[in-house]
Symmetry: D3
Subunit: 245 residues, 6 copies
């Protein structure tokens, strides 16, 4: 059985990671997983939120949002509605936790990095693309901060890399990296965040239609772990490219 775009069940969509997209941000990446495009910027500021002052430790946080017409039908702006929806809150928190998993706060020192992940075009997997791109933006921002001596020489705030991918069971078949049309048809849908060395940071599986058995869960975890390994390699390759800004 072939997928709508001809991929095999174990195949990622074409992934691009374009560094240095923005002239202002300390780190910025336009990441695409197929037609899903997310602009990830990393903003570094000296100092930390009040509750962390004097700790000698830094902070990393994230905000996710969608442009109103990133999707097939226009969604109302959350700024106009005057409140942030549950889905936005949930994803922002997921991205923040995922990236904090590879941060050594002591090494970062009392600096804050805010990751903004704005979905310019959505076709499924926006949160996993956001995490994958945000890691690269974060790496660039930390390099910038090291260069500016905001971070003490020799300190390595990044303890590893992090990437994410979605998996799901569609028509009984476990699939990697779902497009929107696959996502809406999935019985089970899981987002998995892994470190570059293959360990898990987040596992979020949801039975959209039918509850799932343990074997299905195991298969999906295998599929996701393999996908994250591929993404980690793409992140490394992107970061190895020399960019001058």
């Amino acid at each position: 059985m072939s997928r709508i775009d001809g991929r095999t069940p174990q195949q990622l969509r074409p992934v691009t990671i374009e560094r240095g997209w923005s002239k202002h941000a300390e780190g910025s990446v336009l990441v695409s997983f197929g037609d899903t495009k997310v602009l990830c910027t990393a903003s570094v500021t000296e100092g930390v939120p009040r509750w962390r002052k004097g700790s000698g430790e830094g902070w990393v946080t994230a905000e996710y949002a969608m442009l109103p017409r990133a999707t097939n039908t226009r969604g109302d702006r959350e700024s106009v509605k005057g409140r942030i929806g549950g889905r936005t809150h949930e994803i922002s928190r997921l991205i923040g936790r995922s990236l904090r998993a590879v941060i050594d706060y002591k090494a970062l020192g009392e600096n804050t990095v805010v990751l903004d992940c704005d979905v310019l075009q959505a076709d499924g997997g926006t949160r996993t693309a956001a995490i994958t791109g945000a890691y690269v933006a974060l790496a660039d921002a930390i390099a910038w901060a090291q260069d500016k001596k905001l971070i003490k020489p020799g300190r390595k705030p990044l303890t590893g890399s992090v990437s994410a991918v979605s998996v799901g069971i569609v028509g009984g078949v476990p699939l990697l990296d779902l497009r929107y049309e696959e996502d809406v048809r999935a019985d089970t849908d899981m987002n998995v965040v892994c470190t570059g060395d293959g360990r898990f940071v987040e596992v979020q599986g949801t039975a959209e239609a039918e509850p799932f058995a343990r074997e299905e869960l195991d298969t999906l975890l295998d599929l996701a772990a393999a996908g994250c390994t591929e993404l980690a390699a793409l992140q490394r390759r992107a970061l190895d490219t020399i960019t001058e800004k």
Copy 2:
């Protein structure tokens, strides 16, 4: 190694499920997992939200909240702050999805059930206690609706039962049903929602400190599945008790 309250790693806290707590609600349960106490009410109304009208299908949704002094230090009310926080949104959505997993919308007909889960006292595991209690309140509310002929005779809107438990790795040891003091010390924290027949509805695992390996994940899933089996039995026992209201 024994736990702060003397439990074994595989042991649940004392669980109580008190049905018919409220005189107004169609279903109401005061559930406790140790010192965690959640009041779950199920409110039935005829009709469905606008986007579902005319579909012949019902709807189930949930709202979670904490009283300001449910916790060790007082938290500001979200009504006073004028906005619902991300954590509240996230848990409300989780409870709603979990209960919808055992609902046959067609059999429910165009009726809506709202589950309100208000934490009166918190000591870890509030979301899992809420799901476990809300299922029982939902079952009572559906029985009420069948009795009132809001649901057509012979229709069974509940396709199974659902319960939830937390698991985590604390000091290297996998533990079932974490208390607050254990939760804050956990390296990994997972909330698992299962159906009464042992399948998974939600799996949400988070590396609080260290990313976790696949074997740790497997151990935690085993532990959680066993805990949910026990909770399902307690739910059955509670529902078998005759209550007159």
Copy 3:
């Protein structure tokens, strides 16, 4: 003429005052006036709001709220609506003023007590039950603060006790402590807050249907004063009970 629940016009509903309901709060009371149940917690924090700093005086404030299904039909959460309604505001302010009437700010020192009164089940008289219960929670919280030496030895922040009751004219008959069904049928409705020594702290009378004459007002005040005297005795009895926490 006997009332729906068989009481005489001058009779209170059964009142229970359960101290130490919550394990976290410095004072906590589950108070019931018949089927009306309110959880009152008193939270003590060192320090006072900014506008009072350096005055050497303390502060006491209150917040009132209802669980969504405390009432016969479910009400929307104020946190979800994003704003607090006028009724909630009004009652929170009334509770705060009533308790401040028996506080010696100087003796309290620069400490703050927040009283949270959350209605778990409503059947008329929620604000009067809240005041009556909150006084007991406040007394326990102050005892706790004295024990912890937050309050200077010998200082007595409480200058008296305070309790409250509703009265109203239903079908021409003045009644004490209205249930919901009586309240909606009342021509005149009054909430009266008294100190333990029989003086008035608040008198709020409203002509729901017909304006009322001076004699009616006088009768209602007599009835309320007698009810408050009874409640003050119940508060004393509850506080005399030894509780270990």
Copy 4:
């Protein structure tokens, strides 16, 4: 003992009631109680809020607000803060209830009158001036609606008149119609709303400092009733004046 402005304890401040202040509103009054000036407009619209449709009955509601510099120091705008404060809510509700006390909803028919009471300058007693002025604006608006045949011929939506005044005990002396400087020094403060025939619509007494005894309450009620009688006469006189608009 004479008062700061030379009045006797039983004396009202100079009261002016200027009808037809606004060219747009169906009824409009600039009322002043000494330096307190409130602009009261009554807006008539055909139809009623949704919950009242088809009842054949009308509705009357009120909104109270203060200009930012109506007071001695500038207050932040509630529109800028994004929320209405408790005091504003409380007073708006009081004004609405007071005026509804003299309305026959059936005679009004399915029409709505909104009373806007905006304090242009404050010097104590803004809520009582607002009620007193709003009644006159309401009477003009109803006359307008009768003239426009929105109200059926022969129907009399007004069942009486309503006015309000504050009373308080300052330095042991009961005083009528407190100015701001008196109000802040009052031990007890009461707002009383009466009908033109001398019955009570609202009685709201608050012990600002010391709880008050029954005799004090009785004295204050006498004082307020006399003040309201005077105000009712001033309202009648104002309405007897022919205005052409």
Copy 5:
């Protein structure tokens, strides 16, 4: 062709500038352009917003609002809606910029003046009346601050005067100072703010119906500049009058 109120195209409506309207504000003006009436108060406080502290420079800002029934049909209060509309924001910003154009921040010293412009009755040109009146209130407030020595002797914070007027093309004819009925029929509508010496501070022209040609724009600018010159003379005359407060 004569206008609805008999004016020539180049003629202002009757303008009144009543100083010292409020007993509390440091400067206060009730300004009327025909039936448009705006209450402008200027509130002086020592100190400046945080971002300006230590600069030695002052700040001037403005807030504009309309009473709900200032207009022909009642508008909802922005405080009740919980948000300020775009039009209100836009006009508040315009008034603030216009008055800052004649302020020497250094001479003002670290003091803040807030100008509140509340429209009591609207008949077109509310923003231009507000600017014209606010200037006079500002001048009075600055004189007050000089008198109180908040401003150093010899310093002149006002570098000139500022006034504003609307112009538009109605039925092909360029008109000065549009009333509401003219405004809604205008093809082009322009608000112009000038200094007393005839220079421009703001020019805001909008094609309501047809885009306008350069010659039309030139004619409107001539008309507006002449109108502002007249208004500047009226402002001077008002300020020359001795007021005792």
Copy 6:
């Protein structure tokens, strides 16, 4: 004197207009004026807002926003703050008015077009770039609607084209199309919106520092009109390119 980027005073920055940027929107353009990049999408829906139903006329509206790190330092999200700022409101309204100036509502029929202009990177002139790009997106969206027969055959909803540019006086020299560094140094700043046939739709000039004389205003208008003529040619060229979507 040459400008920071070597342009002459009368020279636009390099302008690019990339059509069909988004796969979902009916019209979409990524427009850049130098380093200023704005994503403009046009969303077509059948039907109009309630107040326009049954009129046979369509509606066009716009929303403008900035990504948090579009600027040199990160700005807080308006969705997080829970309110839209005055600047955002003002610009959204300007864009909407500008595009409505070239719309024949009757020809559009009861359809709505929403233009979303999201600034991805800011370097001055974001509102003028947004208008210029939004026109092209609007033209594409209308062509789509004609193709889908939402618009009746033969009807031409667009009565012309519209573009916009900023001008300002920097160091005494009138400059076209200001970059951010020029904008902050400008004494006078003007945004001008013109139709393709050289007439004016909006003229918004502000004295940032010194009030400006009539001759300066005239020079700026000449400069802006010439700039708009150039932009209109670029818009035509972009629309002449055949795109297949």
